[in-house]
Amino acid sequence: MGLVQRAIEAAGVPTVGITLQKDITLSVRPPRALYLRYPFGHPMGEAFAVAQQRTILRDALRALETVSTPGQILEPGYRWKRHRFA
């Protein structure tokens, strides 16, 4: 996914990617990433967990505005099925 992200960014459109695999992200180096220690197949969290999905999307969108170091990986640290999203 990071390769697709890099191509879009290189074409002049800012990007942010959710990642569940930090080692890959550190290697491929997309411009902005949000890392979650979540199971594969759940980049936005659990099914029908609206507050959780919205929070993760908001975090990603905020990264577009706040990340100023290319390649930075943000880690909100949400614990799978434990964090309470408001």
Partner: protein
Amino acid sequence: MALGTLGNRVAVQLFKRLPWLGDAWARRRRFVRSTSVPWTPLRRPVRECTIALVTTAGVHLRSDAPFDMTDPDGDPSVRVIPVDTPRGEVRITHKYYDHSAADRDLNVVVPIDRLRELAAAGDVGGVAPRIYSFMGHIDGAHLRTLVEHSAPDVARRLRGDGAEAVVLTPA
């Protein structure tokens, strides 16, 4: 064949339930190593931007050909999903991850409803008209196709769609 399918299903569940297994897999496998990082600054605040979604979770229209799951190097082609497509016309073809949650709620891999809610609330400027979808797990000769053709093609189409920023989601 049946045994292979079963083995794959077991592996998919193990990778889902044991995060360290995925970490170990990633350390053993070779990934593209990049030194430089491409960078395009955001031109205006997110609340004024049209946002597009791109995924590598293997999502596609039922009416489109599914991704090729028989090639061990993956399928570097792209599927396009108009954002207003009825949910019943969208499906996921991907055997390397457990998409049972995403099958029930597409927002688990493509947060289209959440993005529309943010747009309605004025927190983002708008939603780009199309979602672009890959299958991920691309390797071998297909990596070149992805990097030199599919990905730049999607980048051009995103610009044509008026996308001012993109959120990408993996499987």
